[in-house]
């Protein structure tokens, strides 16, 4: 995918929290460029520094070293009051939605516009447009307490978009939602990215969120970037330990209770409908046992992995490896 201009550049970014008698290094030497129009994922385990990173991007947190360049502006050089203005072009949504509980949906969406000094009439007009975008026109007069989690997040998204930002920062925006609602929110984000051309940064600890909507991903481990690349690439060939851990997270416990020879087959994007396993069984004339499968259909291509238990005898085993090799299906033995 060809990207246009850099939207956000992080250069040697570091953040150390200082309290009375200890230092917590939350980020160290982060170098990252996020381009206009992409959906960029940042993933890592709890405490890795994801939230700190996203809060550094809009300078809610001042980095202790390095720079944030947003839309060609070096944020370390602008005055505080300019920063307030700049934040209006960076929307942000949160895990806990953070809606104003004493304001109804419409008033919540008007809130950033009030902050920006937009007239009440124009603000309400804009709020109704956004309610349409997120599909909640009928809830305009409802209060947050009367909404479901998914609806609250839709309101939060509408609110974040009110000032027509260039970037939308999402910190664990789906972590409090069930899988179905998560999918609908991710679809909404994808639509927003496509139709409004807004650059989206998605922070999550769930690999499924990344693969669902992101173009590129950075994996943060222990305050640093462990790996960065196209989502497909990181999925197929995770290089760092942490990346493997995140990509193959469902697998580990299966390895515990099956102590025999196993083999991981990797689906790297051949068409979804090619019956790889069935062909293999037919051709090798030996049964295999599928222990684990995690495959997904992305743009009509099969991605993911499958773990099969290999037959006892060495000859059948060799035949299977030979089949996989001749058909150029990536695999590895799992010990």
């Amino acid at each position: 995918m060809a990207y246009r201009e850099p939207m956000i550049e992080l250069i040697g970014l570091g953040k150390t929290f200082e309290s009375k008698n200890n230092y917590v290094k939350a980020l160290e030497d982060i170098n990252l460029t996020i381009y206009e129009g992409e959906i960029f994922g940042i993933i890592g385990l709890s405490g890795a520094g994801k939230s700190t990173l996203v809060r550094c991007i809009n300078y809610l947190e001042r980095p202790t070293t390095g720079k944030v360049i947003f839309d060609k502006i070096d944020l370390s050089e602008v005055h505080d009051y300019e920063l307030l203005k700049i934040r209006q072009s960076m929307g942000m949504i949160f895990q806990q939605f953070n809606l104003l509980m004493q304001r109804n949906v419409l008033q919540n969406i008007c809130f950033p516009l009030e902050i920006a000094g937009v007239s009440k009439k124009d603000a309400i007009k804009r709020a109704y447009e956004l309610l349409e975008v997120v599909g909640l026109t009928d809830k305009a007069k409802a209060y947050p307490a009367q909404l479901s989690g998914g609806q609250k997040q839709r309101v939060a998204i509408a609110r974040a978009l009110a000032t027509k930002p260039k970037v939308l920062l999402c910190d664990e925006a789906t972590s409090a939602l069930d899988p179905t609602t998560t999918r609908s929110i991710l679809n909404l984000l994808r639509e927003i990215n496509k139709n409004l051309g807004i650059t989206i940064i998605v922070i999550t600890h769930e690999m499924s969120v990344i693969e669902e909507i992101c173009n590129r991903v950075a994996i943060i481990d222990d305050s640093r970037i462990a790996e960065i690349g196209d989502v497909e690439e990181v999925f197929m060939r995770p290089k760092s330990k942490i990346a493997r851990q995140l990509v193959f997270s469902g697998v580990n416990h299966i390895e515990h209770f099956v102590g025999e020879d196993k083999c991981r087959i990797i689906f790297d994007g051949r068409t979804s409908f090619e019956p790889v396993i069935a062909n293999m069984v037919l051709e090798c004339r030996t049964p295999v046992n599928i222990l684990f499968a995690d495959t997904k259909d992305i743009d009509g291509k099969a991605f993911g992995q499958m773990i099969i238990q290999l037959p006892e005898d060495e000859i059948s085993k060799k035949r299977i490896f030979a089949y996989l090799e001749t058909n150029k299906i990536p695999y590895e033995e799992v010990i």
Binding site: R87, F94, L100, M101, F111, A116, Y143, P144, R159
Partner: protein, 219 residues
């Protein structure tokens, strides 16, 4: 049961008590509300941390809160005379009432504002809200139900302080209760005045609760 004169006296007492309570509450809030806001805003975790200011105000508030009201009442007499020209009557009691309760109100306001979810403040900041905007568009409106409840508590406290003013001839129901019940052993008048005080407290509490239920959109 009571003579006309006594009834008139009770009526006057009620009016004086209400007058002192309402006037003192309003003035105490004019002083205490900004103090409470400053305490929250300048706190270590606040939206504009200023630790020195925070600590100074905190200490002053604590000092005034630890002085028993009766002592404050007497100690402030010279100041009261300076402000209202006398140390007798309802107006004279308003001065110590305001000074005695404003620090208490500052703490009530502080605790109400601190109940506002930090995430909401974070969201407002992410939209480019200034500290002033956060105070007036987020903290105060979001804490409104809790502030109203605190308001009822403050008014009731001021009411009970005002009854203590009876010892220094401030007027109101407190003076009645003390003059008749304490000095002249007329228990019936004392009982009636106490009963009226109880009713007023009930009424304020009830009104506060009703306003909270009406204003809180989380319910």
């Amino acid at each position: 049961m009571f003579s006309r004169a006594v009834l008139e006296m009770i009526g006057k007492g009620i009016l004086e008590t209400l007058y002192m309570t309402v006037l003192s509450s309003v003035l105490a809030y004019i002083l205490g509300l900004p103090l409470g806001i400053v305490l929250v805003v300048t706190d270590k975790e606040g939206i504009a941390p200023m630790l020195t200011i925070n600590r100074i105000i905190g200490v002053i508030v604590n000092i005034f809160r630890s002085i028993p009201f009766v002592i404050l009442l007497v100690a402030l007499m010279p100041f009261t005379r300076l402000v209202v020209g006398t140390t007798l009557g309802p107006n004279a009691l308003v001065v110590p009432l305001v000074i005695g309760s404003a620090p208490y109100i500052a703490r009530l306001v502080e605790s109400s504002l601190k109940e506002v979810d930090h995430g909401i403040i974070e969201a407002a900041k992410s939209m480019g809200a200034s500290p002033v905007q956060i105070v007036f568009k987020v903290l105060l409106p979001e804490a409104k139900p809790s502030l109203i409840m605190g308001g009822a508590i403050a008014v009731i406290t001021i009411l009970s302080y005002s009854a203590m003013g009876g010892f220094v001839g401030a007027g109101g129901l407190g003076t009645l209760a003390i003059n008749y019940g304490y000095y002249r052993y007329q228990a019936d008048i004392m009982l009636v005045t106490v009963a009226i005080l109880v009713l007023i407290v009930q009424g304020v509490q009830e009104l506060g609760g009703r306003l909270v239920r009406r204003s809180d959109k989380r319910l």
